[in-house]
């Protein structure tokens, strides 16, 4: 069938696509929203509005963008990366026209929201960055493509190239990869924090200057309207969760940084003894970090409240919000009909949407348990932390944080048979003071 293929495609394209998708898949970012590039007459597509996931891989991750590498040749030798120089794997490079045609044809069939282009380092950072910018420029200018473009900022790339990239891309990202400078230098001798943070700063400056320009001239072209993001690999180096979260919190303080992604370390280079030997990627830890990240971005938690010196790692057994609540029983129970919105957000089992529903509805009358349940509040958790119209249930005050934890982490099969109102006496060997005074 390949003899009928059109344009820039040829029989190698399929092979290249497989190789370069394999190489790109460990980057977890997939966001495609938060931009305002609308369709213009004669152009292709639009990127206005929310991001859309067009498919999901069999590991359950969203496929929103054509996530691909321009090339997987690389002069660096980072221990955690599948494309490192010393790996013997098939290498390939796309031509600009192949990549452009793939993007547009996939886009027209509603397979994707746009392109997420990354690259191995060839020759030097600037040479690589220039080629990435070239693809985006071709799409935007020659083909008048208005879909989403996410470009990777290459650590060490010059300010001019980053600024040019910002004119064509919706989002730029520079990956921190390893959350600590010493660990980074150990695993990736060619990189340091300065080479990562400099392009991040250029992007920030570009966006902020552009905002000023747009105040003066409404028609000034936008600079990376969807901001920037970054990624950290979790579990490849010895950092604790508190270090990771405080780095994230610091990054979020900078304007324009929209997302930090956490990628559980997949041991792709098992032979390298600088890396820990893992049976499987730390998926639960990764999930807990995302939950903690959510708490910082949408639930008004600070990094310190989630993990500090006393609790340097996230609890793998319960989610970070429940863990916080169990460490702070003095803040509960919360009265659903009176509490501030900020406090409702801190109740385990109440999300942002349900907290908003509660605040909107309680003006019409006091809310009771059945109404809360119908609104989608997870009563199984929330019940230990709230009071509502009905007589109070046994809350975390009457029970004990340890007991609430035991009830909530029990395997789901046995949870039904036990009545949580029934006091359960512990006949274990463990003395009570050790059990309770944690």
């Amino acid at each position: 069938m390949w003899e009928r293929i059109s344009g820039a495609m040829n029989e190698n394209t399929l092979e290249k696509l497989k190789i370069l998708a394999e190489s790109a898949k460990y980057d977890v970012s997939c966001a495609s929203g938060g931009t305002t590039r609308r369709n213009r007459p004669g152009g292709i597509g639009s990127a206005a509005g929310w991001g859309i996931c067009h498919s999901f891989t069999e590991d359950g991750r969203c496929v929103s963008l054509l996530k691909i590498m321009l090339t997987n040749h690389c002069i660096y030798d980072c221990a955690y990366c599948i494309n490192r120089k010393s790996n013997d794997l098939p290498r390939a490079t796309f031509s600009v026209s192949e990549l452009v045609e793939l993007t547009i044809e996939f886009y027209r069939r509603n397979y994707i929201e746009g392109l997420f282009l990354s690259s191995g380092i060839v020759r030097n950072p600037d040479y690589t960055m220039e080629r990435l910018v070239g693809v985006a420029k071709e799409l935007r200018q020659r083909h008048r493509y208005n879909g989403y473009i996410h470009l990777k900022g290459i650590p060490g790339a010059s300010r001019e190239l980053i600024c040019e990239a910002g004119l064509y891309a919706d989002r730029l990202s520079v990956n921190v990869e390893i959350p600590n400078e010493q660990s980074l230098q150990l695993l990736a001798p060619d990189k340091d924090f300065a080479s990562v943070f400099a392009p991040m700063r250029h992007i920030k400056q570009g966006i902020l200057e552009n905002l000023e320009d747009r105040k003066k001239f409404r028609s000034a072209p936008r600079f990376a309207p969807a901001g920037q993001s970054t990624q950290m690999i979790i579990g490849a180096s010895p950092e604790r969760d508190k270090d990771i979260l405080s780095l994230s919190a610091n990054l979020y303080k900078r304007p324009t940084l929209k997302r930090v992604y956490y990628s559980g370390f997949v041991p792709v280079n098992a032979y390298d003894n600088r890396l820990p030997a893992l049976k499987q990627p730390p998926l639960v830890r990764e999930n807990r970090l995302y939950q903690a990240d959510w708490l910082m971005r949408f639930y008004q938690f600070t990094a310190n409240e989630i993990a500090d010196d006393a609790y340097p790692d996230l609890d793998l057994e319960v989610d970070p919000k429940l863990a916080w609540a169990l460490r702070h029983p003095e803040k509960f129970p919360v009265d659903i009909n009176k509490a501030e919105y900020e406090m409702l957000l801190r109740v385990p089992g109440i999300g942002v949407k349900s907290a908003q529903l509660i605040v909107a509805s309680r003006r019409y009358g006091k809310l009771g348990e059945s109404q809360l349940r119908k609104m989608g509040i997870v009563m199984k958790k929330a019940v230990y932390f709230i009071t509502c119209r009905e007589l109070p249930f046994q809350t975390v005050q009457e029970l004990h944080p340890e007991q609430v934890r035991r009830i909530l982490t029990r395997p789901s099969g046995s949870r039904k048979q036990e009545d949580p109102r029934q006091l359960k006496l512990s006949f274990e060997e463990e003395p009570h003071d050790r059990l309770y005074l944690r």
């Binding site: 696509l17 152009g43 859309i52 996931c53 509603n110």
Partner: protein, 256 residues
């Protein structure tokens, strides 16, 4: 029990509201014309749709409800759930009778249920936008065949029109047997007298496809396959995000 029969259109429902207020008799059951009446009832009223009356009720609602509240009504109607009309009737009545807008009172079971149906229909709309797959035909029309759970195609048109403004496309609801065709100027509703060529499986015979269509399908399928990380396979999560009822029409879930 008061039973009311009408033509099961949204305008019809608004006329029912009008009649109910003018007769001061509020139905407990809404039936389609010709549907058998229940065994016991006090009164059966037949309402014929009158655009003027419907318009007056709608204008009244516009004064009471915000734009979001009005969208609650129209979008929930598209769910086509049994008895959704009676629920909407109660919702309209509550809002018309209340001195202040009730639309944020989610403590009220009817308001909450309408909002939940609204949400479900909205989710289905997003899924159609996510999972529609166009196949390019020999005459350069892009065809997507779908079976939405609710009648949501009308809600997705603005998205497809904006995004695919530069290509002719046909979106077809294979369950409800109608679709929308865009000719690069406007969108129009289409129905076919005969069974369309793509049949129940939504696939056109190969000779009707554009020359390069099969290749791009192949490229997309292998791209999709390469993207999964073996160490992290999670079929349950996969099915949760990508419900099996869509697989039939998804290019990447076809074998070969």
């Amino acid at each position: 029990m008061i039973v009311c029969t009408y033509d099961k259109t949204f305008e019809g429902l608004l006329s029912v509201v009008f009649e109910a207020y003018s007769r001061k008799k509020f139905p407990d059951k809404l039936l389609a014309e010709g549907e058998p009446l229940p065994l016991f009832y006090d009164e059966a009223i037949s309402v014929s749709t009158d655009p003027e009356k419907s318009e007056r009720v709608w204008n009244g609602l516009e004064k009471k409800l915000s734009r979001g509240g009005l969208a609650f009504l129209t979008q929930s109607w598209l769910s086509e759930l049994p008895e959704v009309d009676l629920l909407l009737f109660r919702y309209i009545r509550k809002n018309l009778d209340a001195p202040v807008s009730l639309e944020l009172n989610f403590g009220d079971p009817d308001v909450l249920e309408v909002s939940q149906i609204w949400k479900k229909v909205g989710q289905e709309k997003s899924r159609i936008i996510q999972f529609a797959r166009f196949q390019k035909t020999a005459d350069n029309t892009y065809l997507a065949v779908l079976e939405p759970l609710y009648n949501v195609l009308p809600l997705t048109l603005s998205y497809f029109k904006e995004r695919f403004a530069g290509q002719c496309w046909l979106l077809y609801d294979n369950k409800r047997k109608y679709g929308y065709y865009y000719d690069m100027k406007r969108v129009s509703e289409v129905r076919f007298e005969q069974e369309p060529l793509w049949g129940v499986c939504g696939k056109l015979p190969e000779e009707l496809l554009a020359e390069d269509e099969k290749q791009f399908q192949q490229l997309w399928k292998s791209y999709f396959k390469s993207l999964a990380i073996r160490e992290r396979l999670n079929p349950k999560l996969h099915r949760q995000h990508l419900p099996a009822r869509f697989w039939k029409y998804l290019t990447e879930k076809q074998g070969g």
